[in-house]
Symmetry: C2
Subunit: 310 residues, 2 copies
Amino acid sequence: MPLALAAMALSPSAAATQQSPEAATAVPQPRSAQELLDASSPSDWRTPDPANTLYMDLAAGRVVIELAPGFAPAHVANIRTLARERYWDGLSIYRSQDNFVVQFGDPTEDAAARKPIGSARPQLPAEFTRTSEGLAFDRLPDRDGWAPEVGFADGFPAARDPASGQAWLAHCYGTLGAGRDVAADSSNGTELYVVDGQSPRQLDRNITVVGRVVQGMELLSVIPRGPAPMGFYAHPEQRTPIRSIALAADLPEAQRTPLQLLRTDTALFAQLVEMRRNRRDDWYKVPAGHIDLCNVPLPVRAPPPAAAAE
Amino acid sequence: MPLALAAMALSPSAAATQQSPEAATAVPQPRSAQELLDASSPSDWRTPDPANTLYMDLAAGRVVIELAPGFAPAHVANIRTLARERYWDGLSIYRSQDNFVVQFGDPTEDAAARKPIGSARPQLPAEFTRTSEGLAFDRLPDRDGWAPEVGFADGFPAARDPASGQAWLAHCYGTLGAGRDVAADSSNGTELYVVDGQSPRQLDRNITVVGRVVQGMELLSVIPRGPAPMGFYAHPEQRTPIRSIALAADLPEAQRTPLQLLRTDTALFAQLVEMRRNRRDDWYKVPAGHIDLCNVPLPVRAPPPAAAAE
């Protein structure tokens, strides 16, 4: 039978080294990328600041978010306050629009009935873009339709416009943004959304991006969709309860999730990107010669024992 | 309180006309796009050929797929045979890799133990590309990093290379492809995958695309993810059973799901795309001036009563 079968990849070891089938449909790349990552040095990795790390705990598990104070300082400060005062505990994910976003916070319409925001600020400036001056930017050479230049800043997918001198965070899978009304400055950080569909880059420069999910996207991406067109649930019981959202810095060490993120300013990262831009394994017949910003993998790992002991 | 709230959008009527909040985070555009669609004429729509329409019935509901015989005639012919003989009935979705694909068919490793394919052909030619000669191509003016030209052919997101004279279907959200082994001609159409993450355009020209999900993506996109890196479930009971996959043409009229797809060769479609490329509503402050191929919406509707009566 000429067709090789999928099952070789069913065991984890086979998946790691797989030469096979439909399996291969997919991911010859983890194999070689993993080899690269296995050969990384400790300095290729960074540990997110606990003051910028948010844990969203759901019944299904923990979603880990890195905040982006370099781009949205006022929003991040407010989100830290809201998390410290456990604003979101007991609230819910109340919207899930297929191929777009999940959104959480307080869906209450009547302003007087909304959950009080404690000592958080009720109004914040729009933080859609920032100056690119002084911003380290690990630029991708690849062309992009949405922005003159794309790359990574503070480890986040980002874009830059040399003409305007502005930089901004890009809407990719996992991006966390602050929902707003028609007024540009109408977000206060209580209503947040996470992108779980095709990158909606049209939102770039139109809304304040506050961070990115770095672990646990698979918990958000499977949340049942609400009715079209916008994905707001018709019935409150369809919402997904949020047990808590807390800042890592506010939790005792034992309740934190240690992890490391691959730095984007290293030769290793550039190699990894090139490996995805031009696949050279047996499976790919035509290397793309290109990669889109939102297709670049941003690896995360548990700290290795040695690093944990440091 | 300066922050407008999300809940206005909670009722369907409000969602359709919403001016509001975090809600607006998202989708001011369906409002105006809907107005455009409401003003469409019957000739703006097409009804997919029942011989090219596949129904995947899950416990959760029906996924409707349009096949692409113009790009993968041999695969589509085999898939028609497999569906007619109910090859997939009782098989499963056995893989779900976050931000990538779900895959279904028979995961059995041992070739001798695999479900027989009946009168389907065990081997097919690779159908990665086709000649662009004679192919109607509704080109987008927007730049693309993956291909010299992108647009729509036979209603599918597609790409074209004037230098090589070749065209191919693009991997967007909802794309259906035929899994294969390392050999280019190792797919027979039994193992199929649907893209449910960021468009993996690197697969373009590397695998045979056989169609696209036109309705029911929200049933596939929420399927629980299998373990990393490839998403194959560790335990068979985690798989999602397939009740049946059948060709619309093989079912009695009463069991079919009537629907219409917006044509991509019309002035209306071009207007709709332009509306998304440059949003002019109150919510958007900076129109993107660009749209990526895989961000273009491809509307589907139930046939209006008049059309149904024709």
